[in-house]
């Protein structure tokens, strides 16, 4: 079992470390860097959108979906205040009022 865990650890660490290794000799030009500058917003969107829009493995775009209503509030709060705690706790309060 320990060997299995170590092998898994190698896989997860390798995916994180590979492109941070100096042994990998390549440089990222301005074009690739421009492409990569969109990675964080896109990946984070791809993580939060399914949590909000998919309930019980189905698309749930209805006002009765508390995730959707509270996420809408979160988007507005984030746009207006640009503050991690205001957005998180403000929308979380709305969420639990409906949940």
């Amino acid at each position: 079992m320990i060997t299995t865990i170590l092998a898994m650890a190698c896989v997860t660490f390798a995916t994180r470390y590979l492109f941070l290794a100096k042994q990998l000799p390549f440089t990222i030009g301005p074009k690739l860097q421009r492409f990569l500058s969109f990675s964080a917003p896109c990946v984070l969107t791809a993580i939060w959108v399914p949590i909000v829009f998919i309930q019980d493995k189905q698309l749930a775009i209805t006002p009765s979906n508390p995730y959707l209503v509270a996420a809408t509030v979160a988007v507005i709060l984030a746009f207006r205040f640009k503050n991690l705690y205001v957005t998180t706790f403000g929308s979380l309060a709305v969420f639990y009022l409906l949940y």
Partner: protein, 227 residues
């Protein structure tokens, strides 16, 4: 220095708390499926990848072959290749004593705080990243430990809606970074495509929808700068 430590801690704190149900689940599920407490803890200490851990525990319990297990782990972890690539230019000139730990802590959660154009520049920002990533590591292992020790006495906490907290935090991080049309279109593309991929159960959906969104952003940004 103290400011960097505090900011790293406070920025990551909501996420540290939000993942509590899944950390506990990782610990309790492992023990229920025949892991010894030490092995269950080592999963979080060494593998340190929530979704990969949960899937792996079920695969190991089903006596899946090692190669299938590792291939599945790779598929789930493949998105981290993109994270490493995205911060390569910022990190590559740093000594191994910084690159090693930051790579080890490079989860979705730490990457979420890596978008600032000056992230990882200078010692204070490195300390910030190390504290943010490290505090997530400590929290994840603490929740796992609670799951190992007390999982059998605790109800399932993953249906308490704390997944909304994770979504809210990511919204709080993404929305302020949408300051121009290209990044807005990039995010909308990723949003629509991830829903399609999820509904058709496409395993590389996350990374594919990210790459599609990034492509749209890249094309629009390039057009914008030419005119």
């Amino acid at each position: 220095m103290k400011v960097a430590v505090c900011k790293g801690f406070w920025d990551m704190l909501p996420l540290n708390l939000a993942v509590l149900p899944w950390g506990i689940l990782c610990g309790s599920l492992a023990v229920q499926n025949g892991f010894t407490p030490l092995e269950a803890q080592l999963m979080s200490l060494l593998v340190f990848a929530g979704s990969a851990q949960l899937v792996a525990i079920e695969l190991i319990a089903k006596d899946t072959t090692l190669i299938t297990l590792l291939a599945t782990t790779f598929i789930i972890s493949a998105r981290h290749l993109l994270y490493g690539l995205a911060i390569r230019n910022k990190m590559i000139d740093k000594p191994l004593k910084w690159r090693g730990p930051i790579a080890f802590f490079l989860t979705d959660e730490l990457f979420a705080f890596s978008h600032h154009h000056r992230a990882y520049q200078g010692k204070l920002r490195l300390v910030y990243a190390l504290i943010a990533g490290g505090s997530f590591y400590v929290a994840w292992n603490l929740w796992t430990l609670i799951g190992i020790v007390a999982g059998q006495f605790l109800p399932d906490l993953t249906n308490l809606g704390l997944d909304f907290a994770i979504a809210a935090i990511f919204i709080a991080l993404v929305v302020p970074s949408i300051n121009a049309l290209p990044v807005l279109c990039a995010c909308l593309t990723s949003a629509v495509t991830i829903l399609v991929f999820k509904l058709i159960h496409f395993e590389f959906g996350l990374i594919a929808s990210a790459l599609l969104g990034m492509s749209v952003g890249y094309v629009l940004q390039s057009k914008k700068e030419r005119v």
